[in-house]
Point group: C2
């Protein structure tokens, strides 16, 4: 039995291969992952490889000293004469007849690394939960009693070594027509190498998945090509549950007070999610049924509502979730209008107030793979903190209130067009310069968009600038000795004018009032207390890196956040904003099942600290309410 030395590059795997075996077989023997969806039928062209020094081999082949088999008709059809002349061949078609060195191009490698596409998207190895396999199934014949499914599953075993597969009943129902329409050629979609979830006629390579981030305020969806890892469409829209209450507590309360409450919250959510899926699909020129995998993240309340689990016990001590573990289920069971047999993977939650969205943030930021002590701050209506490194991870939830989102602020609003997002106050004249969302120019540069309110980053700027100018003191009280047109001393409370009426679109001055400062104090006090107690628990005095997750972090001025003492002081250089890290975590889990396992492990591993049970919680909180003094800020 003649053998030849075969070497694969770039992996360097090498070994002796029996003459006559295909390069695909050689790759399998030597543990080299080569893409193929047709399983060696010379039908998909995915297993394209390049023979080194092909010209010499090809010529030697022509002259009779064969090192490789001649190109087949199908190879020529799929690759073209030119590519073949340049040494490209199909691994499944080319036989080893002599010693060979083979380059496996990146697109042919299994588990390829995808390069970061945008500032907030991370590189990820493509290892999706679903896989498409092309099959040529033997026709049934009289006297053979095998069913359609049995012939398909036998072919899957023979061709791909897959045994003990199950089949989704909906996919099974489409099988007989798909087989006959495709003239006994079909593409099956396999979930986790265990279950056939879809059957299509002929060769159907396209594979899409969706990552959904169900936020209290915003629903975000990312449609990804599961073969390239590319995000082909993304969409966001308001969570329609807002009509049942702005925060999770009011929505939980609705499920308690109304018998149909949970059903109402679910049905408006799913209606909106399904519309979002429709928009995503049309954006990518596919239909919703082409989406064959999904991952879901959300805070614990959204997680429960999505899963049709009663959220009432999340709303009162001891804040127990029904389910903490990840959950896999069929899209059809939950009315998510993608491929009905598709799996929907819901990431695990950590604890009552630390949800699957936070787990997603953690698997996106990966503190557990770092030596540096990282503090991840995810601020929405509620604040979630994770502190740790590869040694240990601890988390906490803190009731920041919605001030950082611009809610419960006199002129607060979301970061929508017209929201004041940046503010500068002259420490002497108290003159104010500001910029609004949707406008590049400052207010003194004749902007086109007028102000309509103040958003989260604006109110942080305002707080920091008011502190710097000494207009408020570290205890948050206005300095009532200042006499300036911008200082309004009303009967009820003191206000500071940010935008004069003619700079606004709302018919009156836009101000920051004493109550707004109190809301900021409560929010920052809660966040800082949480961070301080986590650090104490971890036994550290400082952190190496702060990650601000969520869109909140994308817009705020880091220096201002530090100067108002929003979180423990670090060099501004090590404060990072990651945008929608929860959505990013969902996307990573969609593209790579290892990230799902990682999420499950992390959710169990993170030690959750109930802050209110910590000794000195109250004392710490009172302390944390105080803003840094100008002296403190200067001495940093």
């Amino acid at each position: 039995m003649t053998e030849h030395l075969v070497v694969f590059q770039p992996s360097g795997n090498r070994g002796n291969i029996q003459e006559g075996k295909t390069i695909m077989e050689a790759a399998r023997e030597l543990g080299v992952g080569i893409q193929s969806i047709c399983g060696g039928h010379q039908a998909c062209g995915k297993c394209k490889i390049k023979i080194q020094d092909y010209h010499a081999y090809y010529e030697s082949n022509k002259k009779g000293k064969k090192r490789i088999s001649a190109p087949t008709e199908k190879e020529i059809e799929l690759l073209g004469e030119d590519a073949i002349a340049n040494g490209y061949r199909l691994a499944c078609a080319t036989q080893v007849l002599g010693d060979l060195t083979i380059d496996v191009p990146p697109e042919t490698q299994v588990n390829q690394e995808v390069i970061t596409k945008t500032a907030t998207q991370k590189a990820v190895t493509i290892k999706p939960a679903v896989k498409k396999l092309y099959l040529e199934v033997p026709q049934p014949r009289l006297g053979a009693s095998q069913g359609d499914w049995e012939r398909v599953s036998e072919e899957l075993k023979k061709r791909f070594g897959l045994a003990d597969l199950s089949v989704d009943h909906g996919a099974l129902a489409t099988l007989p027509k798909a087989l006959r329409d495709g003239n006994w050629k079909v593409t099956v979609t396999l979930f986790m190498e265990k279950k056939v979830i879809k059957v299509e006629s002929g060769l159907a390579e396209a594979a899409f998945g969706v990552a959904l981030d169900i936020g209290t305020t915003t629903l975000a969806g990312y449609l990804c090509d599961l073969t390239t890892g590319e995000t082909v469409a993304s969409e966001a829209r308001s969570n329609p549950q807002i009509s049942y209450g702005e925060d999770v507590i009011s929505r939980i309360t609705h499920t308690v007070h109304s018998k149909k409450g949970l059903k109402e919250l679910r049905s408006c959510l799913f209606e909106s999610l399904n519309k979002l899926l429709k928009d995503l699909s049309s954006g990518a020129n596919i239909t919703r049924k082409d989406i064959i995998d999904a991952t879901i993240v959300g805070n614990t309340a959204m997680h429960h509502i999505f899963l049709n689990l009663d959220p009432r016990h999340l709303g009162s001590s001891p804040f127990t979730p029904v389910l903490q573990s990840p959950m896999d289920m069929n899209a059809r069971d939950f009315g998510l209008e993608i491929c009905p047999g598709a799996n929907v993977h819901i990431l695990p939650v950590e604890a009552g107030f630390v949800g699957a969205d936070n787990v997603a943030v953690v698997i996106a930021e990966e503190p557990f793979k770092q030596d540096e002590m990282m503090l991840v701050i995810d601020v929405g209506t509620n604040g979630e903190l994770v502190l740790g490194n590869r040694e240990k991870l601890i988390s906490a939830s803190c009731a920041t209130g919605p001030a950082f989102e611009g809610a419960h602020i006199k002129f607060g609003m979301r970061a929508a067009r017209g929201a004041i997002e940046s503010i500068k106050i002259d420490p002497k004249s108290y003159d104010v310069r500001f910029k609004v969302v949707g406008e590049n120019r400052w207010n003194d540069q004749d902007p086109q968009v007028k102000a309509t309110g103040i958003c989260g980053s604006g109110i942080i700027d305002a707080t920091a600038e008011l502190l710097r100018a000494g207009i408020i003191n570290p205890r948050g009280a206005f300095n009532k000795n200042i006499s300036n047109p911008r200082m309004l001393y009303n009967e009820k409370e003191t206000e500071f004018v940010i935008a004069w009426v003619d700079e606004t679109d709302v018919g009156h001055d836009i101000t920051v009032c004493q109550n707004d400062i109190r809301s900021m104090q409560l929010g920052k006090g809660a966040l800082l207390t949480g961070a301080n107690l986590l650090m104490r628990q971890m036994g550290v005095d400082s952190v190496d890196k702060v990650v601000l997750a969520g869109s909140f972090g994308l817009h705020i001025d880091k220096q201002n956040a530090l100067d108002m003492g929003l979180f423990p002081y670090v060099d501004p250089e090590v404060v990072y904003s990651t945008g929608n890290a929860a959505g990013e975590g969902a996307r990573l889990a969609l593209l790579n099942t290892d990230k799902r396992q990682e999420a499950a492990d992390i959710a169990r591993r993170i030690e959750y600290i109930e802050l209110s049970l910590e000794p000195d919680f109250q004392k710490e909180f009172v302390q944390a309410l105080i803003f840094p003094t100008p002296q403190e800020v200067k001495s940093r």
Copy 2:
């Protein structure tokens, strides 16, 4: 560490057990199966055992020489003082303090044998797919982040060694309320030691399952107590699909011709099945939701329609089923209104015309466990044959036509009230005596019920008697030389009067006509050809045992069937009628999961013979159309 010798009876398992361990623990160590649903909480009382020579032990115990621990309060409450004085104790509560011999009563043994209850019910070892487990779950506490499900699943692991369990999403949704309503005590229903499918508050022992036999004509249901194996209710009703056609071919045709055909057939079937389930449940004083497991059998067309699989390819060559393997799915997925998370197990089919009903017959009759060569004949609208023994099994389908069910016979009818079921013809006077369904007296004994038609067993009697009297010859032709008032020579065909008009309720004579005899010939020819070809394939000249499955077999006169040559000749003593063996197979598979595995193995193992492809099929068939001659019959 002191150890004591513990012996369990009747198994005889013995070994040294560490002092202080419970008898339950000793049983586990020594491999003795003891019932328990509460997992050692002294709550269910299922683990009742008897201590041999208890009196001596008990006394010695009282005097201080302890061999067993004293009864606990809960034991006294559950067993009563009297039982304890007689040596009964709970295995989970009683500690080993000295050498002991313990009797495990039958009801405490795991996998107990159930005694045959009726003539047609077989003994079976109880080993259902579902199991109920009682749990006392730790309460949630502030600062611990575990969810309700995680605490339940941890308890299942700790108490029963069950790891990696999944949970039905519907069961999960009921979990928080069940836990709190039951004060953290719940009973979970576990499917195949893998998945929690139901949760109930407190201790809930009752466990019911249903076996459904979906016949072309009749739907039959058997409600069984899964703890005792007892059939607590059984019901039958007409298959409402009859309005779409009497036989499977016309129903398959309906699905081809009408777009909504399959949907219509399914929805009327499920409506009727759900009503049947309701009747079964009220018959046993339970609700449908209390049914936590189900098995389904039916011919291939019924199997496909039940599973929402397109049956069209069953109707034309090569008669390929969509699915041959067994299928497990959730009741909720198919609208079967039992416990929504319950598993529904559909038995496998063998081939295009040999369905799950036939597999069920085979696992009920078990030819594969016997040395004798057994021929199983299942006659309905279609005939299915299985021939074999422990060495080999072969099957065939033969187109008997519906004559044996009384259809396509001039005065044919089902075996309903008024149907002539037994016939005797005087070979000299040609006088006829007959008996109808619903009447104990013959027609000459002044019966109350008048005749309305002839059913399958009646037409077989008529054929055999007409042959005996020489009124028809072995080729099936009427002897036109006979002059008798009962012989009617019409223009179109010859008839023989069975019942005179005044003996009937239909206003005219009831006759057997030439066409009826031809239908019988075609039916018996098909059946006999099938049996002969199977025997040839098997290489045998005769069989040791004939089993007639189905209600058809229950009513026919064996001698008459043999004399008209319905199947190969055997001693009438070895012809058995089993009633609804398909339903019985479904019941056995419900009560014992080993039978499900057996069915899956058998369905793959049985060699299916396509009769029309056999050489000499046509020749054999023509031969088989001929009835045995009186000489042949006499010489047997």
